[in-house]
């Protein structure tokens, strides 16, 4: 089995990333040309003022007495132009928001679905929080960039372009002068951006540390009090909070220097225009209106450069976000659904076979070796062994949460890899040890096993499982809210709900992975009995942590160090010397000492 981790740091270039990212968002590309054309129209609004000033001074004020009708006419024409560009800007904005939001919503949902389609093993190579970021923060960063930064780049280019063209029309000498002033700044800006980007990275790390430290004061409240370590915890939190603050101030200081720098460069350019401009004026190369218009045109250089570091930073974040979401989408689901080509299993009791199955986790030693076995339909199987013996791996292979490295697992004669997921998940259900519940009521959580179930069906299922009494003892019965991750219930109660949920799904093979380990003994025994009744006619496999499960099974599978070392009914196994006899002895001594 090769390591299948989520690709995130692929060596894709920025341009390649953007190209692939855009190819995933057809909604964005549709009508993009029109939106860009509108953006160009909107940008031309910026040079209306300098042109109006120049016209007023040169034409309107020629010969001492202003030409009022001409100036009024020019002003009116310009005002109409301003309104038109504003309308263009409005339409452009609405189109841009619609296109970006629609395309990113699609990408978000696709990413979400793909995460669920990845195998458990692949999912576990990433922290859950990181996976969540792929469909939240990463997408938000792309959207910020498309709606602000990316637009700013277009606007800034347009603005610099139209300003330069107009400047060139007025005076090429002054145009060169202005560019000569701004080029060094443009060269320096990426440096600032790198500095800023590093500073922001530190801020993000420190913020993470800070949040982790703060959470200790809440999540660890009981331990902190029991061990009187309030002061120690407070110090740790203060340090993390202060480190975060320092990092934020450092980043802010870098931003704080870019703005004034641009102001100074602009002032130098303006002073240069005046100094050189008057000499050009003397030689008749420029009119006074054009010279004054230049002073206004320089202001068009200021805002693009002031925002450039932020824009570059956003661009970098967006590319990184894109790279990460592409990384998820590019990771093939290695335990893939054969889909429509797959086999549909008919309903009815299930038989299982393992044929020379091997498994090892990526980069690890083999955890399952040469496992060959058959489980006949309707049989009741107990799986036993010490921690690390391969019991849980066996369960995960049987439910196809993972695929064997070699050998095959078959159900009713079909290789699991060929069985359609919809059919597989309907017929084989595992109840994991950790009873994860969704934030909602008890009823909603149980119904998760069978979305079409009525309240009566759910009540009936609870009765069949012998849980009606427990349910009645709850303040709001089935309407009891379970809290986030089911935290309002005890660990044992969570397991009861998880079991009811799986039972409601009505599978033909039910696999319990120490599914009642946190339930009190009396309840556990009641439950075991009820399960015995309701799984009659189905295949039932229990990973056992106590003796009676093994004793009551038709057959016990004993795992040791990744191998199936013994199998047979309890009565036989307990008589032969071996792993099972040892396990049995330790159980008995634990129960009767």
């Amino acid at each position: 089995m090769t390591a299948q981790s989520i690709q995130g740091n692929s060596e894709r270039s920025a341009l390649e990333t953007i190209r692939q990212g855009l190819s995933l968002t057809p909604e964005f590309r549709k009508g993009l040309a029109g939106t860009l054309a509108l953006a160009v129209v909107a940008t031309t609004g910026k040079i209306i003022v300098p042109i109006a000033v120049q016209q007023t001074i040169d034409t309107g004020l020629k010969g001492g007495a202003p030409d009022i009708p001409y100036i009024t006419g020019a002003v009116l024409v310009c005002a109409v132009a301003v309104l038109l560009t504003a309308v263009a800007a409005y339409i452009m904005n609405v189109r841009l928001y619609k296109a970006t939001e629609s395309s990113l919503a699609t990408l978000r949902v696709r990413g979400f679905r793909h995460v669920h389609d990845l195998s458990v093993l692949t999912q576990n190579t990433e922290r859950r929080g990181a996976l969540v970021s792929r469909v939240t923060n990463d997408i938000d960063q792309i959207s910020n960039f498309m709606q602000w930064g990316g637009l700013m780049i277009i606007v800034a280019f347009g603005q610099l372009l139209v300003a330069t063209v107009l400047m060139f029309v007025y005076s090429w000498q002054l145009t060169l002068l202005v560019w000569a002033c701004f080029v060094p700044l443009m060269i320096a800006l990426p440096r600032f951006q790198r500095l800023l980007s590093r500073a922001y990275t530190v801020v993000r790390e420190r913020t993470g540390d800070m949040l982790a430290a703060v959470s200790e004061s809440v999540v660890g409240a009981a331990v902190i009090r029991a061990y009187a370590s309030e002061r120690r915890t407070a110090e740790r939190i203060d340090n993390a909070v202060n480190a975060n603050r320092s990092a934020q101030v450092r980043a802010q200081t870098i931003v704080g220097f870019v703005f004034p720098l641009t102001e100074i460069v602009a002032a130098v350019a303006i002073a240069g225009i005046v100094l050189l401009g008057v000499r050009l004026g003397l030689s008749g190369d420029i009119t006074q209106g054009q010279l004054v218009a230049f002073l206004f045109l320089v202001t068009l250089f200021v805002s693009p450069l002031q925002t450039a570091t932020e824009v570059l930073n956003e661009a970098q974040n967006a590319v990184a976000g894109w790279r990460r979401i592409l990384g998820v989408l590019d990771t093939p689901p290695d335990v893939a659904d054969p889909g429509d080509k797959g086999v549909e299993l008919p309903r009815g009791p299930i038989s299982v076979a393992f044929e020379d199955v091997h498994f090892s986790y990526p980069g690890g030693a083999p955890v399952l070796r040469e496992v060959t076995l058959e489980i006949p339909p309707r049989s009741r199987i107990a799986v036993v062994g010490e921690t690390g013996s391969g019991k849980t791996t066996f369960a995960k292979l049987l439910t196809r949460l993972m695929d064997p490295a070699s050998g095959r697992v078959t159900v009713d004669g079909s290789d699991l890899r060929d069985v359609r997921f919809s059919s597989l998940r309907e017929r084989i259900v595992m109840v994991p040890q950790d009873g994860f519940l969704f934030d909602g009521t008890l009823e909603e959580n149980i119904r998760y096993g069978k979305p079409s179930a009525t309240t009566e069906e759910i009540e009936l299922a609870m009765t069949e499982l012998g849980l009606a009494d427990w349910l009645e003892g709850l303040p709001a019965g089935l309407d009891t809210p379970v809290g986030q991750r089911g935290e309002s219930l005890s660990a044992g109660e969570r397991q009861l709900v998880a079991l009811a949920r799986a039972y409601l799904a009505d599978p033909d093979l039910l696999l319990l992975d120490e599914a009642t380990s946190a339930v009190d003994p009396a309840t556990e025994v009641r439950l075991a009995r009820a399960l015995e009744g309701v799984t009659r006619g189905r295949t039932a496999i229990s990973i056992a942590h106590r003796l009676s499960t093994a004793e009551n099974a038709d057959e016990v599978l004993v795992f040791d160090a990744g191998r199936l070392v013994q199998r047979g009914p309890h009565a036989e196994l307990v008589k032969e010397p071996g792993v099972y006899a040892d396990l049995h002895a330790s159980w008995v001594s634990a129960a009767h000492s």
Binding site: R128, A226, Y227, A271, F438
Partner: protein, 603 residues
């Protein structure tokens, strides 16, 4: 939730800002000074340009020669104004950041100090997620308006200076300004009022989308084992589409107002040119004045929007501040007495007539029992019988509503702070590890040598895996011990308790994630080493109960019976029912098998 910029929100918001200003007086004064320089010099740079136009550019074209004195004066004026303005900008931005981040850090420190100070009963009443967001997002939101605030103050200075400059230049041109700038301000206010609720809604939906993803990925195993990927995707898609629509609604408002706010100053400049031409022809102003006013309009157009930014942040700020304040205003704390314990002998524990309720629901009624020094007592009872609550009372995580808990005859409430922790060590059901090294997690500030730590790890059957960790005792365990398995975490928590050589050790189902064989070793080790301590243990497993000298059987929050294991087995039906469930089951089965076989024989 306040989402609109109403006058009430404005008043509250300004009061919040007042708090910040009073707290950071000196820095705020400096920031305002820098902003004032920035505001003044923005107007100053327009004036310098006007001056240069009037005294350098126009005379040059009119007279055909350059007045070099005026030329250099103009240049210096332009550069000087820009330099001062730059200082103002840098000072304003950096100081605004410093003030904002200092206030946020202060709120976070104060809020977490409260979390550490307030009694556990207060924690029980507040969901974890809420407390975490009080310390992070709310503390951030409360002080968010501080970033644009100095700028806004600078803008006010700027507007005043500009108004004066314009009035002195020409009353008619000033009038254009007095029409345009208030119009921009009003438009901006309408903008923020329209945007604010939409932005809040989008923010809310963003949080919900994130919550769904979090929950769904956390439960990935359940989703997979039941094949509910499509159901989850539908759930996510619905919310993601709501977020999309909310963002587009925000975009519509932005798309409408942003171009208007850009166009208004441009219209202003055009109006200045038209009016200016008239005034020029009347001889009331010169061309330099015209250029100066037009330039001023260009420069003011953007900063004036800073006023709107402050207003836009206010509703969020008020909500954030109120939430932070609610934590800071929370009363109730553990009061400690003066009594100190000096004994190093095993402690005796007495519980007398103790009752405790979570809100209305009473979970313990008149519970009484005692644990003589050096003895081991098992607390046994079905799920929900009140065992864990009782344990919290024994180490004074909460105080009883009635009755008393006595340690060596002293009421826990009379002991000085830290006194209980010195004598008593609790290993709770829910293991909690700090994001620290293995050593740090075990010592928790206790001065102890590595030999003691290893000895404790050996007792907890944790020495083996800790020795195999990459950095041994220095290995960091990750956030909440994420890099360890449940059983490993429990054993570290156990070592944390025994390293203190407590006079009373309390185990609340503390080995549930540990293999039975390993658990047995731990328990025997404890019994051999526990000569020096009294032990209270909450358990289901027979092996654990068997170690106890005495059993206290709890059901529905009452002590039903107490005595040795054998005594209770004989006389207490509930107890017998619970602890012998497995054995009885075995026996019944054996009996059933016999009947079945018998039937077969007879058939």
């Amino acid at each position: 939730m306040a989402t609109k910029v109403t006058s009430a929100v404005m008043r509250q918001g300004l009061r919040v800002l007042g708090v910040a200003i009073r707290t950071e007086k000196a820095l705020f004064a400096l920031a305002v000074l820098a902003s004032a320089v920035y505001g003044g010099m923005t107007v100053g740079s327009a004036w310098a340009l006007g001056w240069a136009t009037q005294h350098v550019v126009l005379p040059t074209f009119a007279q055909g020669n350059v007045a070099s004195g005026a030329l250099w004066t103009g240049t210096l004026l332009i550069l000087g104004a820009a330099l001062l303005k730059s200082f103002g900008v840098a000072g304003r931005r950096i100081l605004a950041g410093v003030i904002q981040y200092r206030m946020q850090a202060r709120s976070r420190r104060d809020v977490t100090k409260q979390y550490l100070r307030l009694p556990l009963s207060w924690h029980h009443q507040h969901p974890t997620g809420q407390l975490l967001s009080n310390a992070s997002a709310d503390a951030e939101a409360a002080w968010a308006p501080l970033a644009p605030l100095p700028m806004a103050v600078g803008v006010i200075v700027m507007l005043f200076t500009a108004a004066i400059a314009m009035v002195f230049t020409d009353l008619m041109l000033a009038l254009v300004g007095f029409l345009i700038f208030p119009a921009i301000a009003v438009l901006n206010l309408i903008y923020q009022r329209k945007l604010s609720p939409l932005a809040t809604r989008a923010q809310q939906l963003r949080a919900e989308v994130s919550e769904i993803a979090h929950e769904s990925f956390d439960g990935a195993l359940v989703v997979k084992t039941l094949g509910r990927e499509e159901l989850e995707t539908d759930r996510f898609r619905r919310r993601a589409h709501e977020l999309r629509d909310a963002n587009i609604a925000v975009g519509r408002v932005r798309g409408l107002f942003d171009p208007m706010l850009e166009a208004l100053p441009t219209i202003g400049v055009l109006a200045v040119l038209a009016v200016g031409a008239l005034r020029l022809s009347g001889g009331s102003i010169d061309s330099g004045d015209l250029v100066q006013v037009a330039y001023l309009f260009t420069l003011l157009a953007f900063p004036i929007r800073a006023l709107g930014w402050v207003l836009a942040e206010l509703p969020r700020s008020v909500v954030g501040w109120q939430r932070v304040q609610a934590v800071l205003d929370a009363t109730g704390s553990m009061e400690y007495g003066q009594a100190v314990t000096t004994s190093s002998a095993p402690a005796a524990l007495e519980v007398r007539d103790v009752s405790y309720a979570y809100g209305e629901a009473e979970v313990l009624h008149d519970v009484s029992f005692d644990v003589p020094a050096g003895r081991t007592v098992a607390l046994v009872g079905p799920t929900g019988s009140g065992k864990s609550t009782l344990v919290q009372l024994l180490v004074r995580l909460v105080d009883p509503d009635a009755g008393r808990v006595l340690l060596d005859g002293v009421d826990l409430r009379e002991l000085a702070y830290g006194g209980i922790a010195e004598s008593v060590a609790l290993v709770p059901q829910q293991t909690f590890l700090f994001d620290d090294s293995v050593r740090g997690n075990i010592a928790l500030g206790l001065e102890t040598g590595d030999e003691d730590v290893w000895a404790a790890l050996r007792l907890a059957q944790a020495d083996g895996f800790v020795a195999r960790l990459a950095d041994g005792l220095d290995t960091r365990v990750g956030e909440r011990g994420a890099s360890l398995s449940g059983g490993q975490r429990q054993r570290i928590a156990l070592a944390r308790a025994v390293v203190r050589r407590p006079r009373l050790l309390i185990l609340d189902d503390a080995t549930s994630s540990v293999d039975p064989q390993v658990e047995a070793k731990i328990l025997y080790g404890l019994r051999d080493a526990a000569e020096a301590s009294t032990v209270v243990v909450v358990a289901y497993r027979m092996a654990t109960i068997a170690l106890a000298d005495e059993v206290v059987y709890l059901d529905h929050g009452r002590v039903v019976d107490r005595g040795t294991h054998e005594e209770l087995l004989k006389r207490c039906a509930g107890y017998r029912n619970l602890v012998t469930a497995y054995e009885r089951e075995e026996a019944e089965r054996a009996a059933m098998d016999v009947t079945v076989e018998g039937e077969e024989v007879s058939a």
